[in-house]
Amino acid sequence: MTRLVNLVLSLMLAATLVGLTGAARAQGPLRIEITEGVIEPLPFAAPAFLPENAGAETLAVQITQVIADDLVGTGLFREIPAGAFISTVTSFSSPVQYSDWKAINAQALITGAVGVTSDGRVTVKFRLFDVFAENQLGDGLQFAGTTASWRRMAHKVADAIYQRITGEGGYFDSRVVFVSETGPKNARRKRLAIMDYDGANVQFLTDSSSIVLAPRFSPTGDRVLYTSYETGFPQIYLLDVETVGTRSLGQQTGTLTFAPRFSPDGSTVVYSVSQGGNSDIYRMPVQGGPETRLTSTPSIETAPSFSPDGGSIVFESDRSGTQQLYVMPASGGEATRISFGAGRYGTPVWSPRGDLIAFTKQNKGRFHIGVMRVDGSEERLLTASFLDEGPTWSPNGRVIMFTRESQGASGAPSLYSVDISGRNLRRVPTEGAASDPAWSPLLP
């Protein structure tokens, strides 16, 4: 009888368990849907990288600061000040005290070390941690270079961190060529200049003896096309960034050529030619050769820009009576109008991702930088001011840099950047006035 009672009690307990778990299991997990969140900078901690020897102390601090500045500059990240840190990183390989970083809400943690060898070589290594998941994001990485290229190494570390967190390629190890302007508004002297994307390491590529306009990088970033009035009328030139040597592309004397841009493979240049008050679009091999006329209308066609696959060209034209954007095959042919909003559209530039076209829009006395799908849909205006113009894409297609000119007799152009969401409008630091920026691809 005792055994029977035991058995019965066991059965009752088991049945209760079955009832409980079975009921919950029958319903499955609790399911909820979250359709709203927040869009805010992700807080990260970047303790100063550890110097691996005495000569690396200053460089370690500088490199850490550039990395942090790069990330903060995107508007997607927020640096937690060192004063808030609870933990101290004393060794590159020591385990992370996640609870200390969680306590200050650091969602990402960057640790690193810098070494300098006696022959002037610098090594930078880093690790990235997802603090709340308590794991490392990707493997540790190490970069090596010369002491002179320490900023590039910092940019490369920041690119890697950016890529690991956002999934997009970075854009920090890149350069911008632009027109540096000096002098009064009615007698500006213009020179081509090149700098890091963040305004550091400015170098001048031309003198100010002639007016220069609209520089454009080659797809590999080693050459620049630009328009110069060196001969008294606009002509296209090709400049080697390394040697700073220039040569004319060899257009016919007497024609006005301008608005050049490389094809994605770098072999062809597309540009505008103005004759008798009419402008059309042409293309020719960069190494020289016959021109091919792509448009033949009695209107002004200019500002051509290739699609990333090289199959199409977007350009501006007033063939409809007002300045609008059109897309045509890269070999010429019938063009399709893609802009239909109020106002005038110009200077279209195809995104390196291929999904958007950036443009300048003028409407009701205001200028805007905007983007639209390649079929003209989903137009979004990102900026508005007295004069915004000339967009250029970051290598990852996430940021647009452009020229903003202030109003009045003392007004001067400056470079600005904005995220394609319309957020994070920032002035790019330059010494003096600057205009016509063109963003390079990521450096090798």
């Binding site: 066991s10 088991a14 079975g22 919950a24 319903q27 909820i32 709340f132």
Partner: protein, 236 residues
């Protein structure tokens, strides 16, 4: 094997066996000795009621072993005393001085009556797991929301809806090691991974001190699947 571990083992195996039996739509076999009980209770209680009724009727061992599926027979085997002399039909045959159970009277009879009338004695019925009210679910949703930061997601990840499963502690804290991606739509594997990482950060960050969930309904929220749909977060 001593009695206590055997008891625990038999409970575990029984729980598993019954779940499997229910999942397969198990019904007691027609010739198991209690055909009338097959109609006495709701389907979800059939098996438990059947066991109780059977045991209270004190049927001989060979009969009930023959009538049960193998897993149940195994349970009965494991639940039996270790002494092989006891595990015989003779052992459960009342001996001299033992009270002969009367199916029609006393506690056993009451159990049978209960079973016949759709009532089940003691803890046998599966208690209803308390559910979460709409307001409680909304509160959980609102608690996660401030930590779901789509600001660092690229455009493809912003097109990707991910379903994240998480096991919860009784104090409302998510178990960090339990978070896993159980499904996604609208993007590549890489985009889903990034979207999952953002969702995981959200669940862990905002749940660091425990979500406000009713402990009496723990069984209902012990396992949660959260769908993160970024449709409204995309760049317009």
């Amino acid at each position: 094997m001593t009695r206590a571990p055997r008891m625990i083992l038999c409970i575990v195996i029984t729980g598993w066996a019954c779940s499997a039996a229910f999942a397969q739509g198990y019904r007691p076999p027609r010739n198991a000795g209690l055909p009338e009980l097959r109609h006495a209770a709701r389907p979800s209680n059939d098996l438990a009621t059947y066991w109780v009724g059977f045991l209270f009727l004190n049927a001989p061992v060979p009969q009930y072993l023959a009538g049960f599926p193998p897993v149940i027979a195994m349970w009965l085997f494991l639940g039996a005393p270790p002494d092989p002399k006891v595990f015989t039909p003779m052992a459960i045959t009342p001996g001299a001085g033992a009270r002969e159970p009367d199916p029609a009277s006393g506690e056993i009879g009451q159990a049978v009556d209960d079973a016949l009338q759709g009532r089940t004695p003691g803890p046998v019925p599966a208690p209803e797991t308390p559910s979460l009210t709409r307001a409680q679910q909304d509160r959980l949703r609102l608690a996660v929301l401030p930590c779901w930061n789509a600001g660092v997601l690229d455009s493809e990840a912003l097109m990707t809806t991910v379903v994240v499963a998480v096991s919860m502690h009784r104090d409302g804290r998510p178990e960090p090691g339990s978070l896993r991606l159980v499904g996604f739509s609208g993007g590549s594997d890489a985009a889903a991974r990034r979207a999952f990482e953002a969702a995981r950060r959200a669940i862990l960050r905002c749940g660091a001190n425990g979500y406000d969930l009713p402990i009496e309904a723990y069984e209902r929220w012990r396992e949660i699947e959260m769908t993160f749909n970024p449709e409204s977060m995309r760049i317009e």
